[in-house]
């Protein structure tokens, strides 16, 4: 979930009277977010992934003002349908980054707060919702520096002075040598070729999409009018983001104008600021939440959550705020009703229910086995399912039979596969506890994994280890016989050669002609590999064939 850092002074100035640190934390929590730190100049707040309109101070202030019943602004319309600028979309971008939307905000008082907020918002937004610019990227420009109209096209390896640079650089040079170029190059590269999408005016590139803007059109505190381009691979997303931005600029008093996007014969204006309504019977909302909201409260509750709403018979008609790109249908609106009502006021209501519950047969059997093992003096362990070849095979004295389920992309060197058996985990545990009193008797009942014919197989195992100066094959057999007798398993013992055990001191446990496990005296080399200094015995049982058939 995105975590934002917002200048408190700026935020509070946007909200106006009635807000302080304590209230901010309280309201955020009630809205479903979490203030992580509020002690300094900035407030650090965790925003849920659906509410990307709250990634900037302006959007956050708007939501707070609504929640505090301080605002009457529930929707954002752009009356003037004259486009401020035209953008022609060339077919060449179709393969790599087909969609663009844009808007122009006139008469913006660009001070440090506004500038910082814009930068923070755009970075956080492109990183999260924009999936690190792959899905969405945006650029801010000084509108007056643009010699329009613009063309959005992918083609030649052009040159321009990128933002923050003094010298001209070619696009290819940027991808190879510039910091942002290197960071985002993969977005515009296909296995066969590299694309160079660019937004250009009559003087050349305004932006190398989605890598860098031009130094020529950069925003400074002298900027009055801001042009914003949004490019991406989802038409819905680029259009909605333009609406989110439009709302924020309108909130700080800007005059927002549309931009005409021309794609062949097709023309459209962004941001669309389309009016959306969702109508919900009040009974339905009440039934899903499990509270009585009442006709008298429902409008005020809708306003509190930022909706303009009206009664339509026994239904409520909600106008969906333009900046709410997370509202898919009535389910989302009902949630907002619940949030507005307050989760803390929703009283638990029992479900009347009279069917018996029950455990899986495996659970019952595993519990029985665990009880027996504890009775035999073994303490239970809980180990990770994740391991590596060295632990699972090499140290345990057996060779890799290529049956392990391998991880493709682990972030940790020591984790490369799923364990195929449990014993190495237990040996590892006693290996690091040599200073503890002997005997050390431990067991685990949990899962092991294998791949067969490229399909996964998961099964429960029981493993036990006893490290004890007096351990030998006979003591191992005593444990196995005690366990299996008490568990009611009829079995046979046959000879077994197994790298973990001393030859001639290990055996297989056979049930109906099938090996279901083994036990024996641990080989001194294996003991040594795990750093164990005393003799020991071990057993491992495959439980799947022991479970009662249901």
């Amino acid at each position: 979930m995105p975590v934002i850092s917002i200048n408190k002074r700026y935020l509070y100035s946007l909200v106006g009277q009635g807000i302080d640190d304590h209230k901010l934390a309280d309201y955020m929590s009630k809205l479903g977010f979490e203030v992580e730190n509020i002690s300094g100049d900035d407030a650090t707040i965790e925003i849920t992934a659906n509410r990307l309109d709250l990634l900037d101070a302006i959007g956050l202030a708007r939501t707070l003002k609504n929640f505090m019943h301080k605002s009457k602004r529930f929707h954002y319309e752009i009356e003037n349908n004259q486009p401020a600028l035209d953008i022609t979309v060339d077919r060449s971008v179709g393969k790599i980054r087909p969609y663009i939307s844009a808007l122009v905000a006139f008469n913006v008082e660009v001070d440090d707060n506004v500038l910082l907020n814009l930068i923070n918002f755009s970075e956080k937004f492109c990183e999260t919702f924009g999936r690190n610019r792959r899905k969405i990227a945006m650029g801010f420009h000084d509108f007056d520096a643009i010699k329009g109209p613009l063309i959005y096209k992918s083609g030649e390896d052009l040159e321009f002075v990128p933002l923050g640079h003094k010298e001209k650089m070619s696009f290819s040079n940027i991808l190879e040598n510039e910091e942002k170029g290197k960071q985002y190059a993969s977005i515009i590269k296909s296995p066969r070729r590299c694309f160079y999408p660019a937004l250009s005016d009559s003087e050349g590139p305004v932006a190398f999409i989605p890598i860098l803007n031009s130094q020529r059109t950069r925003i400074t505190t002298a900027t009055k009018n801001i042009f914003i381009d949004i490019t991406g691979i989802s038409e819905y997303a680029v259009n909605k983001v333009a609406e989110v931005l439009a709302a924020s600029f309108m909130d700080i008093g800007a005059d927002v104008r549309k931009v005409k996007i021309k794609r062949g014969e097709e023309q459209r204006l962004t941001p669309e600021m389309e009016k959306r309504y969702i109508t919900i019977p009040i009974k339905k909302a009440e039934r899903e939440i499990g509270v009585a909201i009442g006709y008298n409260n429902v409008i005020s509750l809708a306003n509190k959550m930022g909706y303009e709403a009206g009664m339509l018979g026994n239904k409520i008609k909600f106008r969906i705020p333009e900046y709410r790109l997370d509202i898919i249908d009535e389910q989302d609106v009902i949630e907002d009703m619940a949030i507005g009502y307050g989760y803390e006021y929703i009283n638990p209501l029992p479900i009347y229910y009279s069917q018996p519950g029950g455990l899986e047969e495996r659970t019952k059997f595993n519990r029985k086995l665990a009880d027996i093992m504890v009775g035999l003096g073994f303490s239970e362990c809980t180990d990770s399912y994740l391991t590596n070849k060295q632990n699972n095979f090499d140290k345990a004295g057996i060779s890799d039979d290529k049956s392990a389920i391998m991880l493709k992309n682990s972030n940790t060197d020591t984790i490369t596969m799923m364990r195929t058996w449990l014993l190495p985990s237990l040996l590892n545990n006693v290996g690091k506890s040599g200073h503890e009193k002997m005997p050390q008797d431990i067991f685990e009942i949990d899962m092991a994994f294998r791949a067969k014919d490229r399909k996964p197989f998961e099964s429960y195992h029981l493993a036990g280890v006893s490290i004890n100066p007096k351990a030998n094959f006979n003591t191992a057999k005593e444990v196995v016989e005690g366990l299996l007798y008490a568990a009611g398993v009829k079995y046979r013992i046959s000879e077994l050669k197994h790298g973990t055990f001393i030859e001639g001191r290990s055996a297989e446990i056979v049930l109906e002609g099938k090996g279901i496990g083994f036990f024996g005296e641990l080989h001194p080399l294996v003991l040594k590999n795990f750093g164990i200094e005393e003799p020991g015995i071990a057993l491992e049982l495959h439980l799947e064939s022991l479970y009662p058939k249901s």
């Binding site: 849920t48 659970t363 809980t382 389920i405």
Partner: protein, 495 residues
């Protein structure tokens, strides 16, 4: 009456009862206790009147330097007598030793004076051949200085020798014999002197405890703590949680940990470009075939929901990727799908609501270190029914956690598959803060493919580890739970 009798005393009494009367050396050698302990026991037993100690006088002889010379050469009177056999000796010519010999010879009637010369008597002449008795004794005793009888028989002569400073005679009292008294013998016989220490078969069979009583133990004695074998605290909590679910009418279900993206993400309306699916957060498998969905008609519902809800293409090959589940909600999803399928065919195939739960391991591709783990436990609950409400969800969760002794509260939150979304928290006394336990909510219609007015589903999927942290304040961080340090396991207390 029970007299306190120490076990050393008891050993002595037992032996004496058998022999009635013994000397000290015999007693000591038979008891193997060492002389000090036996002496201590005898002293105590004598005071209790259980034994009589018979003493005797003992003498010890040490021969002085002069004595040693006389052993070799004979006493001066003997030397003088031998000299008189061959020559005349005048009184006036006697040297110092000769004078001593003359004085003793005269006193013993062995030598006379006749006209200034020394003359042996008849006895003197005999003594010149055979020695005088005192000389005999000296020679004898020099061979056996410890001969107790010799000393006792010649006490008078020895005291003479002692007066002549030829020997030192040392006499003292020693224990001669020990005899058990009548009371002592009866005490052993009746067992009154024998309080029971370690109970054995004999004690139980004889019923002798009334007469003997029991030895008292020092209740403040330091002993080593016995280490019990125990279930792992996390598994114990899982047992408790399962019992909580069952007591509320839930049926346990389970499903694969190595799962397709479809059941972990797609079927739960998580968009295909959602960051949670990134390789950065989720373990993918390199050596398994992609899942195929030929027999899963549900794929169509999922595809439609994604295209409508997320305005993006939906790819079956992305859904088929195999991974390690990031939540156990995939288990709920599999069951939900088949139940909804059954209900569509026959609305009466189940009695609603249906309550299910599963508990299993989930995985996160974190950089694993001593604090962060790649896998941990989660539990997942689901209720499928009609007209279920958010307030019902609050009630179920409150009760499940109440069973575990944990009080929870709710706040809004967001997960792609629930709406309304809920996060619930518990108070962590140790850090004086509310900590997040997990997410919950009412499943979206997109997941069931059925309108909520017909079927609603409540679901939750919190972790388990933090609940244990709240219940057991001795656990300082979650990674301890999976470390299995044996010292740590042995220091656990059941909570």
């Amino acid at each position: 009456m029970v007299l306190p009798v120490h076990k050393y005393e008891l050993s002595v009494l037992d032996l004496l009862k058998e022999h009635r009367r013994m000397n000290l050396d015999e007693l000591v050698s038979k008891l193997h206790l060492g002389k000090d302990k036996v002496m201590w026991a005898l002293e105590n037993l004598k005071e209790k009147g259980f034994i009589t100690i018979l003493h005797e006088e003992r003498g010890k002889i040490r021969i002085n330097r002069e004595g040693i010379e006389y052993v070799r050469d004979g006493l001066p009177e003997e030397q003088l007598l031998r000299a008189l056999e061959n020559k005349k000796i005048y009184v006036s010519s006697l040297d110092e030793k000769g004078k001593i010999g003359f004085l003793w010879g005269k006193r013993l009637g062995l030598i006379e004076i006749a006209g200034g010369t020394l003359k042996p008597t008849a006895r003197g002449r005999e003594a010149a051949k055979n020695g005088v008795p005192m000389g005999e004794l000296l020679r004898e005793i020099s061979k056996n200085p410890d001969d107790h009888e010799l000393i006792e028989q010649n006490l008078e002569a020895l005291s003479e020798l002692s007066k002549r400073k030829l020997v030192d005679l040392d006499r003292h009292t020693e224990i001669k014999e020990i005899e058990i008294t009548k009371t002592g013998a009866e005490a052993v016989h009746e067992g009154t002197a024998d309080p029971i220490d370690q109970i054995d078969r004999g004690v139980i069979a004889s019923g002798s405890w009334d007469a003997r009583g029991f030895k008292r133990y020092d209740i403040n004695v330091k002993v080593g703590r016995q280490i019990p074998a125990m279930k792992h605290p996390l598994k114990r909590l899982i047992d408790q949680l399962k019992d909580a679910y069952v007591s509320m009418g839930y049926q346990e279900i389970s499903g694969p940990a190595v799962e397709s993206s479809f059941w972990v993400f797609d079927s739960l309306f998580v968009p295909q470009d959602h960051p949670a699916r990134d390789a950065q957060d989720t373990f993918y498998i390199s050596n398994l075939e992609n899942a195929d969905f030929k027999n899963v008609p549900h794929v169509k519902t999922v595809k439609k929901a994604h295209q409508k809800g997320w305005h993006a293409k939906w790819r079956e090959d992305v859904a088929g990727q195999m991974l390690l589940r990031t939540h156990t909600t995939s288990v709920s999803s599999r069951y939900l799908y088949s139940i909804v399928n059954d209900l569509k065919k026959n609305p009466d195939s189940y009695m609603l609501p249906i309550k299910l739960f599963s508990i299993g391991r989930v995985f996160r591709n974190e950089s694993v270190d001593y604090r962060h783990l790649g896998d941990f436990y989660q539990h997942d609950g689901i209720i499928i029914g009609k007209n279920l409400t958010l307030s019902n969800l609050f009630d179920e969760l409150t009760k499940i956690y109440k069973f575990l002794g944990v009080k929870i509260k709710f706040k809004p939150s967001y997960f792609p598959f629930v709406e309304p979304g809920v996060e619930f928290m518990a108070y962590y006394e140790k850090n004086k803060e509310w900590i997040e336990l997990g997410g919950a909510g009412m499943l979206r219609e997109e997941i069931t493919g059925v309108k909520r007015s017909k079927l609603s589903v409540l679901a939750w999927g919190p972790g388990i580890d933090r609940t244990l942290l709240i219940k057991d304040q001795s656990i300082s961080n979650i990674s301890e739970l999976y470390n299995n340090d044996i010292g740590w396991l042995r220091s656990r207390q059941e909570v």
